[in-house]
Amino acid sequence: MLRIASLNRGENELARRMGAKQDLIMHNQPLADASLVACPHCDLLQRLPEIAPGASARCPRCDKELWRRREDSLNRTLALALAALFLFVIANTVPMLGLTAVGHAASTTVVGGAQQLWHDGQEIVAVLVLFAAVVSPGLQIGLMLAIVVAARRERPPAWVGMLLRHLPFARNWSMIEVMLIGVLVALTKIADYATVIPGVALFALFALVFLLAAMQSSFDPREVWNRVRWADEEARHPEAGRQMTEVTL
């Protein structure tokens, strides 16, 4: 109850009046020892060791990788994300596949594929394809760019954390590599009936698969979380008289 008094009273009152339950849930107390973590896969409490860049720490019980420290994470991720953005724009503006057969010619882009499905009455699948092949990868690149640019500041603003929260979702549903295999299979099928011409976008997508993987693996979210402005900024400063919690392992 002591803690609620220390919250911003005006904001709290507003939240109460708007009936926003979520804003009334109090913030937890952080641990005094910031190197303690729990494994996300088995909940084992443990201390993260200081590790060298490139090294990784794993959970001793379930072998989950808890942290892989990256060298020069922000700069490298920024460079890769910019390159990925460039290829993403190309991949979605120029034709990906062309076809000629007995005097007919046709070509399609990634979005064109979804459009044709929509046109043929498979609206839900069309939305799913668009989401997995265009929206999520775009979101993944966009979020990453915003995060690494803003995280270069001494004290990154709290909205960086908001963006970082949604990055795993975008990454999980971004399926360019799966689409590429799908396109290969479609090519092989169609090659029986017609001459298929791979478009520039196909090569851009191929490179994008590797760039996205490199971008994700060069990024070290822990580095950003360690510096970001906290939602409950007072809680991280024990001298403000706020309680921190002690744990003995």
Partner: protein
């Protein structure tokens, strides 16, 4: 010792450990503002619900055709399995195998694997924890590859529009197939892997910890 046994909550989003204020059983992460829970709410029920829905959709996904080819001589519909057979050729067989794995084996293996995890967690099993968490991780990684067939059909349909000579249309099976992929991915997401370890932890069996 687990975080739960210490009354600590670990943030799924930013990884910060914190303790709910005295008297409260839930709280928000002081760093990233995420609402914290000890375990994903109703994890087993939700996962089971998604799995049942996926298993129901799995039948029409494989029985109904996913594509219809319209030529001057008539209409011909193919199911996923027929697509695999059609693709089988001296040069195309590796791709045919990929589709067979991604479209038919992975979705069914995912449903069976998650059911196995659900049942063992429900029964409070404390055995094979390492194997079970590995199974969960494999399911998590390979699940997305089932989408291959959705993309194959999308781009086949988009390209083969050579009216009146030949055209390809999506068929109703495609929707059910896409539904299986999405539902199983949601099932994986709603399953809390920490449940695998909870019975062992609560029975106070000290895990054999090996430090590498």
């Amino acid at each position: 010792m687990t975080a739960l046994q210490q009354g600590l909550q670990s943030c799924d989003t930013c990884g910060l450990l914190s303790r709910p204020v005295p008297g409260a059983d839930e709280g928000r992460c002081p760093r990233c503002d995420e609402e914290l829970v000890f375990r994903k709410p109703a994890s087993l029920q939700r996962t089971l619900a998604y799995l049942i829905a996926a298993a129901v959709c799995y039948v029409p996904a494989n029985v109904l055709p996913v594509m219809t080819t319209i030529t001057a001589s008539g209409r011909e519909s193919d199911t996923i399995l027929q697509g695999v057979v059609l693709l089988w050729s001296p040069t195309g067989w590796p791709l045919s195998l990929i589709v067979l794995f991604a479209s038919i084996m992975i979705p069914s293996a995912k449903i069976v694997a998650l059911l196995y995890l659900l049942i063992t967690v429900r029964r409070g099993s404390i055995e094979n924890n390492r194997q079970r968490i590995r199974l969960y991780r494999i399911v998590e990684i390979i699940g997305r590859w089932s989408m291959v067939d959705v993309f194959v059909d999308t781009f086949t349909v988009a390209l083969i529009q050579l009216q009146p000579l030949m055209s390809v249309e999506p068929a109703p099976g495609l929707f059910f197939f896409a539904a299986v992929v999405v539902l199983t991915m949601l099932a994986v997401e709603s399953f809390d892997p920490r449940l695998i370890w909870d019975s062992a932890s609560s029975k106070e069996i000290q895990p054999e910890v090996q430090y590498a």
